[in-house]
């Protein structure tokens, strides 16, 4: 064992914010379904608190023994719309509170999976879930929700997009922050450990441990050492660094699964920022040579970064999954916040960036008077990028009542702060109000 390697590992944690962003336990709820919603809710609470009872204890012991912080401990469950097949919107509150209470009982940070998959159409449970969202997201604390409105195979459900625009708007009228707990996806993945979009897909095993790694600070520090060198050197450096970061994720995930006696699922190869300086994806892009993130060249630099992270990470882990890519949540990234404040980073540039990275328009504050159809149209654009390019995209936007462009909104903790960004004011209402379904794209004649 070389002292240099030991010191390098310690520095990554102490000075460069290397952490395991999340250890997420995925739990199937398919065996909790009973005829009566209240009984089902009881079964949900029991199953979650039984399997996850030692999750925090095990994760904290690993942190201690290996000296690696695990920032979040979370749970994801089967999309609740599937469990709530014949529920009414009022019944949905039983499920939501069962999840919230169970999450609090075991001490996790969040529980994800209050979700519906409606890319092709709505079933009763899907509609009940979506209608319950304004109440659920304001009356519970730890429940995270996602709705999948499009996929490459099914196309895009424009009716669902219209409904979700109205829902986001409705939630914003009740709370400034509750929309941070709702993601609208295209091509959602079944094993994502990251919030707010985590759910436990129906093809998954009964209980698994998934891990999300982080470490933009480590990548930035490594790139500082190759200033001025060719872009291949940048790619190579990111790859090697991603390998090291991901190996830690692989080790922690395998250990956690073993100690909890459940299956190890996947490592999500990600660069996830936090609002802390030095833990920013924007700063990595700037280190590659951009004066500020959002300027010309940002999309190219991000493509390289995203790809190199995957190439390094794939070899470091047994099984890769989740979203696997660089995250660009505006409010959670110090460099993104600066660039948005100065106007260098705009919504249209962010949209372009989402074509080459994970995941989408994420944690973006927009004026409170933005219309529901404009919000829907933003969702539709993101879905189009995902569906056409066979990748996951998502929208998590925060219309904030009583704010105008340039105001700062504080969401607290890891959710950070965001400047209210300008939205194009021309109407998209006639497009959204058409309703119906955008057909799945053809996958030949690619151009």
């Amino acid at each position: 064992m070389e002292t240099k390697q030991i010191q390098e590992t310690i520095n990554m944690v102490e000075e460069e914010h290397l952490d395991i962003r999340t250890v997420t336990m995925g739990i199937s709820l398919l065996d909790t379904i009973a005829g009566d919603p209240q009984q089902t809710a009881k079964n949900i609470y029991k199953k979650v608190t039984t399997y996850a009872k030692d999750l925090i204890k095990v994760a904290e012991q690993i942190e201690r023994e290996y000296g690696i912080p695990i920032t979040n401990k979370r749970i994801s469950v089967t999309p609740i719309a599937l469990i709530a097949g014949h529920a009414t919107p009022d019944d949905m509150l039983y499920y939501a509170h069962a999840l919230d209470d169970a999450a609090k009982a075991v001490g996790v940070d969040f529980i994800g999976g209050y979700s519906a998959l409606v890319q092709k159409g709505f079933a009763n449970g899907d509609l009940a879930l979506i209608k319950s969202l304004p109440r659920v997201l304001t009356e519970t604390d730890l429940v995270m929700s996602s709705v999948n409105i499009g996929s490459t195979k099914a196309g895009i459900n424009l009716d669902a997009i219209k409904l979700m625009g109205e829902t986001v708007k409705g939630i914003s009228e009740k709370s400034d922050t509750a929309n941070a707990k709702l993601v609208i996806f295209a091509n959602a993945v079944e094993d994502n450990p990251f919030m707010a979009g985590a759910f436990h897909g129906v093809s998954e095993a009964d209980v698994v441990i998934n891990v999300g790694v982080s470490g933009p600070g480590v990548v930035k520090r490594a790139l500082e050492k190759v200033k001025g060198e060719s872009i291949q050197v940048v790619a190579e450096t990111v790859k090697k660094t991603a390998f090291k970061i991901t190996r830690v994720g692989q080790m922690v995930g395998a250990l956690a699964a073993e100690r909890l006696g459940v299956e190890f699922g996947i490592v999500d190869l990600s660069l996830a920022p936090t609002p802390a300086r030095g833990d920013s994806v924007a700063e990595v892009l700037e280190e590659i040579g951009l004066e500020q993130v959002g300027t010309h060249g940002t999309t190219a630099a991000l493509m390289l970064l995203n790809d190199a992270v995957k190439k390094g990470g794939v070899m470091a882990s047994q099984r890769v999954g989740g979203l696997s890519g660089a995250f660009i949540p505006v409010s959670e990234d110090a460099g993104m916040i600066d660039a948005a404040k100065e106007g260098t980073l705009t919504l249209s540039k962010l949209e372009a960036m989402t074509a080459v990275c994970s995941v989408g328009l994420d944690m973006i504050a927009i004026p409170g008077d933005t219309s529901a159809t404009t919000i829907s149209a933003m969702i539709a654009d993101e879905a189009a990028i995902g569906v056409q390019n066979n990748k996951t995209t998502a929208v998590r936007i925060l219309p904030t009542l009583g704010t105008k462009v340039g105001d700062m909104v504080d969401y607290g903790g890891l959710l950070g702060t965001a400047p209210v960004m300008p939205v194009v004011e021309k109407s998209s209402a006639d497009f959204i109000n058409r309703g119906g379904h955008i057909p799945a794209p053809i996958h030949s004649f690619k151009n």
Binding site: M1, E2, T9, G67
Partner: protein
């Protein structure tokens, strides 16, 4: 995965008694030292110690707390981590 070794690293301003303090604390826990690497870089003492936990009497957490307390008394930073994390990161 073997769980029997850990690395103790000590970094801080050099003064008499650092190695003695760490070695005594380890001995109190019945721990054998397998390897030591130590150097002084411009007045900063740095040491990495590979230790065997197989004969550890008591809990890992107690050992870690005792070493942290010793570090605070000596004015140095002591990390105690299981060996696998370093292997994972630096070896394929």
């Amino acid at each position: 995965m073997t769980m029997s070794k850990a690395v103790v690293t000590v970094v801080g301003k050099d003064k008499p008694g650092i190695i003695a303090g760490v070695a005594n604390t380890l001995a109190d826990h019945n721990i054998n030292i397998l390897d030591v690497s130590q150097t002084i870089m411009s007045d900063i003492f740095t040491m990495s110690m590979l230790i065997n936990l197989e004969e550890l009497e008591g809990q890992f957490n107690v050992l870690q707390d005792d070493l942290n307390k010793l570090g605070a008394d000596l004015g140095v930073t002591i990390h105690t981590q299981r060996e696998e994390i370093f292997d994972a990161m630096s070896r394929v």
